[in-house]
């Protein structure tokens, strides 16, 4: 029952996709995280929910600082790519360390992103 409840909670915030009220969404996800955490079998789900909440916070900050509403609801990889495309390497690095993105994935993302903006010089350098 507990399990079901937490699933519905986890689905709930996504159903309200696109709503400008981010804070209640994050709260909901955190609640789901705690519910997942109550049983032993759902460590993974709990962790994912926790990361999701953190990601949304970060994306929110990024949207405020760049004034572009393009971050929320994209994945971690997409967020990193967007950052690099926008030339904001510091932010990209921050997302990378925050979510412990592996070096392998990081390089793929960087190559793709640099290729998108045709920044061949940077591509060569790295």
């Amino acid at each position: 029952l507990l399990w079901k409840e937490s699933w519905e909670l986890a689905k709930n915030p996504m159903a309200s996709r696109g709503s400008p009220l981010h804070t209640p969404r994050i709260k909901l996800i955190e609640k789901a995280q705690n519910l997942f955490a109550e049983t032993k079998e759902h460590v993974f789900e709990s962790k994912a929910a926790e990361e999701h909440a953190r990601l949304l916070r970060m994306q929110h900050e990024l949207e405020v600082s760049t004034k572009q509403p393009i971050f929320v609801d994209s994945s971690i990889s997409d967020t990193i790519r967007t950052c690099i495309v926008l030339g904001n390497h510091r932010a990209a690095l921050r997302v990378k360390t925050e979510f412990k993105v592996s070096e392998k994935r990081w390089y793929w993302l960087k190559v793709f992103a640099l290729a998108t903006i045709r920044d061949w010089d940077a591509l060569e350098k790295f």
Partner: protein
């Protein structure tokens, strides 16, 4: 060329099935006098296009519309809804009615459920306070003949509903469809089923027979001798592999829907570049397609080349020598096949450009490595790289399912790692999809040792040096891998499943083999008993109906056609399926759409 296939040349004449459905539909329309607007849901529209031509519907005074959330745009005062029994469709209908009411429009509403009414749907209509405004009926469409040897029950997500939602409504639907078939072709005396769902279908079939018996006196000798019912769950490896037959590849790349593909007109040699789509029908009425659909694609290219060369030769002969009238006639006859030639050369060319891409070849290579199940780490790395490159999620999941199924799951460490990478790359909303796949046992934590290697060896699934030009074995459809499902059918037909007991135990679910008497009380057993190789009196081969619960791929259909074309084969095979699937469409049913 018509999209509705000609059914008369098949091993069994399925025309009565289609005619009956057509008649029932027309009766519905006739009973509603005057002009009316027929509103159907998009999904059903596809199935209906295989049963009746739109012109026929128009003759009966019907204007056709597709059901969606927009308010109705029609001048008709009578509206007929013809929809599948699904909740979200009910919402559209009630919003239509509310919309009309608010505008003060007076209309008569008729609602026909396909194939039968559902309590939940009617409850929703009651809650919306529109139930009393509707005249409700049923249109019992249980099976649609896709081609002369294929019946589809048109249950798209049956597999997912059974394995993740625990919803087994579709099983009843399948049993009902088979039972309906028995009314036309006689009681099927031998029943074999393997897998949880299939055994239940077999049980239900017996119950239906007890309730509403098909008596053998009405129909004479049963036309179908044996039915083999298989769960898709038994063999999830095959649908996840890329099909390499002509029809299979067409489906993988262009997605064949209701016996036709929709593609850019420019591929078909049209000059305009405006991205216009055109529909190309693909069924056995097209002689050239009939000849090539089941061949390995490599061979198809050769066949087409040969035909083109011989045609060119004929043409040059035409110009140089004097012809007699009969020779001229022959030549013109050959010219008639020209449109078919061009069509398939265009299609084949398009496929060739796609299949020669390194990414495609790499994927094939990986599939074979996974099926061989010898180098697990390489496969895992490959999938990891796919995720990092953010390739389409469905292709990633397809490979992942393949890897998980052949290894009885992934070790916990890898399992969590891959899941985390997927969530990071594609977004956290996909956790629901991953949960569905885990529940279905398709991508899961490793439990115990995998018996895939054992099964693979016992059933000889990986065949070295397969000759695709002159195939001797069904493994040609995947260039070296013989589908597990087909091997099971081969054994079932040849010798029954008893010698295979040990292997069957390794696969999920129980199995049953039973004989049924045409008489409900079971005292008389006048039917040709279950012995193999018995032939129907008039020298025709007896028929086996193979039913796939959860869908079948074109490659498997080709393999079955290949089997029945073999010498020394005592049976013709026809196929029943919940839906024709490929790895992508099957995986897509598990994707949870959020938001």
């Amino acid at each position: 060329m018509a999209q509705i296939p000609n059914l008369q040349n098949g091993p069994i004449n399925l025309t009565p099935i289609r005619d009956q459905s057509q008649k029932e539909l027309i009766t519905i329309l006739k009973n509603i006098r005057g002009k009316k607007c027929l509103v159907i849901d998009q999904k059903l529209g596809g199935s209906l296009s295989l049963i009746v031509q739109t012109s026929v519907l128009k003759e009966h005074g019907a204007e056709l519309l597709y059901l969606n959330e927009d308010p109705l745009e029609t001048t008709c005062t009578k509206v007929v809804y013809l929809v599948q029994t699904q909740l979200h469709l009910m919402k559209f209908i009630s919003s239509h009615i509310h919309n009309d009411n608010s505008k003060g429009l007076q209309r008569e509403y008729f609602l026909y459920f396909v194939p039968r009414r559902g309590v939940a749907c009617e409850k929703l209509l009651e809650d919306e306070k529109v139930h009393n405004l509707l005249t409700i009926g049923e249109f019992p469409l249980y099976a649609v003949p896709i081609d002369e040897d294929i019946l589809s029950f048109e249950l798209d997500s049956s597999y997912k509903e059974c394995v993740t939602d625990g919803d087994t409504t579709s099983l009843w639907h399948i049993a009902k469809a088979i039972h309906k078939l028995e009314f036309s072709f006689g009681l099927i005396p031998n029943v074999r089923a393997k897998g949880k769902a299939s055994v239940r279908v077999a049980d239900m079939l017996n119950r239906l027979q007890a309730e509403e018996p098909v008596s053998s006196t009405d129909t004479g000798v049963p036309e179908i001798n044996t039915i083999i019912i298989l769960d898709r769950e038994l063999d999830m490896v095959t649908p996840m592999c890329t099909q390499l037959t002509y029809e299979g590849l067409l489906d993988e790349f262009l997605h064949i829907n209701n016996g036709a593909v929709e593609i850019d007109a420019s591929i078909m040699g049209a000059n305009q570049q405006d991205g216009k789509k055109m529909k190309v029908p693909l069924n056995s009425t097209d002689k050239l397609f009939r000849e090539t659909r089941d061949l390995n694609f490599e061979v198809v290219v050769q066949v087409l080349r040969q035909k083109a060369t011989s045609m060119k030769q004929d043409y040059t002969e035409m110009q140089t020598t004097n012809q007699t009238v009969s020779e001229l006639k022959d030549f013109v006859k050959k010219l008639n096949s020209l449109p078919e030639m061009t069509r398939h050369i265009n299609l084949a060319q398009h496929l060739s450009t796609l299949t020669s891409k390194p990414s495609f070849l790499g994927r094939l290579d990986m599939e074979h490595t996974i099926v061989e199940a010898e180098s697990y780490d390489i496969c895992l790395d490959y999938i990891e790289e796919m995720i990092h490159k953010q390739e389409p999620l469905v292709s990633v999941l397809r490979q992942l399912i393949l890897l998980s199924v052949t290894n009885a799951g992934l070790p916990k460490r890898n399992f969590d790692y891959i899941r985390r990478e997927i969530l990071h790359s594609y977004g956290f909303e996909h956790i629901a999809t991953l949960n569905n796949l885990e529940k279905a046992g398709l991508v899961k934590k490793q439990e115990g040792k995998s018996n895939w290697l054992l099964i693979k060896r016992a059933l000889n699934l990986v065949v070295e040096d397969t000759d695709t030009t002159n195939p001797k074995d069904v493994s040609y459809v995947f260039s070296g891998y013989a589908p597990l499902s087909i091997r099971l059918i081969q054994h079932a037909i040849r010798s029954g499943w008893r010698p295979l007991e040990e292997i069957l135990k390794l696969l999920p679910g129980t199995h049953t083999e039973s004989k049924r008497s045409a008489f409900a009380n079971g005292t008389l057993d006048t039917l040709p008993g279950g012995s193999h190789m018995d032939k129907v009196q008039d020298g025709r081969r007896s028929l086996v109906l193979v039913v796939f619960v959860g869908g079948v791929t074109f490659a498997e259909i080709s393999a079955l056609r290949f089997l029945s074309s073999q010498e020394g084969m005592a049976y013709d095979i026809i196929i029943g399926t919940t839906k024709i699937i490929n790895g992508n469409t099957l995986t897509e049913t598990f994707l949870e759409k959020l938001g």
